[in-house]
């Protein structure tokens, strides 16, 4: 019997472009952890880019249809969509919201896609699914290697909490679910005030100096709060935090994807191989804690 039959959780999976390249370890850890927890991810066939910030910054119509195309493909599969990247998540949710409330937009998308799109199925982020569908109780029962002694700053960033009328699975100013999840894994989530501050990820390539300043401030703040590493659910934040962090006295904070830490705590064998792809190696920190 497959594990998904036990939980009954099946989603149309939208990986997004980053998870196959710069965030490859995120993509690999998402698949391994979901399979371990009994969440079945059926990849949307022929999914395309959601348009990201570049789409809605330059053409709202383009943004809507680029994201909408994937909603329509997922509707054919008759499942809710699971998304790993918060930037894709917010674009898909935004398009879904607009399509639900505007017949004309739905018809337009239906004509582009040569099908009848109804906007029936929702869009969920994997953090939301793991915390609220699997549940922390169930997750705790599966922990075989508690992350004891690991002091972390849970970094939510922008699109998991904003705008609150579109994403509402946690508080927009002081979210807790990722902190709770990390504590469940046996780690120690430090309280800090940078949780929902922006890292400037969308400007990481075009305005390096802005991104560098924001990232370095965040890492410093996390360090002052007693964290030895940061944790994110976003491939853009991860790349930006790794590439643009100035470091304090030559030391930079490693950055984990939340799924990598779940993998470590659940004893998933290949978890170590995901971490080898990081630009800021967390292996010294983990070894020093016997993890």
């Amino acid at each position: 019997m497959s594990q998904s039959a036990a939980t009954g959780l099946r989603y149309a999976y939208y990986p997004g472009c980053s998870l196959e390249a710069t965030a490859r370890e995120y993509g690999q850890s998402v698949r391994a952890v979901c399979s371990h927890l009994g969440i079945e991810l059926a990849e949307i066939p022929d999914w395309s880019c959601c348009g990201a910030s570049s789409g809605h910054s330059t053409s709202r119509q383009l943004a809507r249809t680029l994201a909408g195309r994937n909603l329509a493909l997922a509707e054919k599969m008759e499942m809710d969509i699971a998304v790993a990247c918060p930037a894709c998540y917010i674009r898909l949710r935004n398009a879904h919201h607009e399509m639900q409330s505007d017949d004309r937009l739905r018809e337009e998308l239906s004509s582009v896609m040569s099908l009848s799109y109804q906007a029936k199925h929702g869009v969920r982020h994997l953090l939301d699914i793991i915390v609220n569908e699997i549940g922390l109780e169930d997750l705790k029962s599966k922990v075989v290697k508690p992350l004891k002694g690991l002091k972390l700053a849970a970094y939510y960033g922008c699109y998991l909490v904003r705008p609150p009328e579109l994403v509402a699975f946690d508080d927009p100013e002081n979210p807790q679910c990722l902190d709770d999840l990390l504590n469940t894994l046996g780690a120690e989530a430090r309280d800090w005030s940078g949780k929902v501050d922006c890292c400037g990820g969308s400007l990481s390539l075009s305005k390096r100096e802005i991104a560098g300043r924001l990232v370095s401030e965040l890492a410093e703040m996390a360090g002052r709060a007693g964290a030895e590493a940061m944790v994110t659910a976003c491939p853009l934040c991860h790349a930006n935090l790794e590439m643009r962090q100035a470091g304090v006295d030559g030391k930079k904070l490693p950055v984990f994807y939340f799924t990598e830490l779940i993998g470590l705590a659940l004893g998933i064998a290949e978890a170590r191989s995901w971490l080898r792809r990081h630009l800021i190696s967390p292996s010294g920190l983990l070894t020093s804690l016997g993890l």
Partner: protein, 184 residues
């Protein structure tokens, strides 16, 4: 009507505020200049006008100054301003409309950001999905900033974090159709 600013005379476009409201849905009349947006803005330090000032300038019809500002391009799209606005002014929608208009009229001041968006979307139109390596190389060539990220780029290649070739995509016609319709 004209008014005088530091650089000389500037035109006032009396319909601009109405146009922004209609096209973006942002209720800019509600703004009472409390500065919540600007105080929470992560890019504020790099802006020529702060977000609350842009709202005021749109109300006043300072079209040219708004559309040629750095502000609309160094905005990091973090959405904190609109989420925190006590009067629910949709600054995110407003910024999108301003960027769209600025780009269409060739007024974008921050070329690197505008180039990034163009190259990003050009790749999507061509391949359906983003190919990060070519996005980075094209942007570096376009902005003549070739060497700044070479060490981390090489490290990422070695760690298998950058695909060498874009993926083949079956339904690319469908994506190109979306771009054609948006250009109309």
């Amino acid at each position: 009507m004209q008014y005088i600013n530091k650089e000389g005379r500037t035109e006032i476009d009396r319909r601009f505020g109405e146009q922004v409201k209609e096209e973006s849905g942002a209720e800019i009349d509600r703004c009472y200049q409390c500065l919540t947006c600007s105080l929470g803005c992560p890019s504020a330090f790099a802006m020529d006008y702060l977000p609350h000032q842009i709202v005021r300038m749109v109300q006043l019809g300072l079209r040219q100054e708004v559309l040629t500002s750095s502000t609309i391009w160094v905005c990091a799209d973090c959405q904190a301003c609109a989420s925190r606005c006590p009067n629910e002014v949709d600054l995110v929608g407003m910024m999108d409309f301003l960027r769209e208009t600025s780009l269409r009229e060739g007024l974008a001041k921050e070329r690197a950001v505008a180039d990034f968006h163009r190259i990003f979307l050009g790749n999507i139109e061509r391949w359906g999905r983003q190919h990060e390596l070519s996005l980075i190389i094209k942007l570096k060539l376009k902005t003549r900033d070739l060497f700044s990220d070479v060490p981390s780029g090489i490290k990422m290649l070695k760690k298998g974090k950058l695909k060498l070739l874009p993926e083949r995509f079956k339904e690319i016609k469908n994506v190109r159709d979306i771009f054609r319709r948006a250009e109309k």
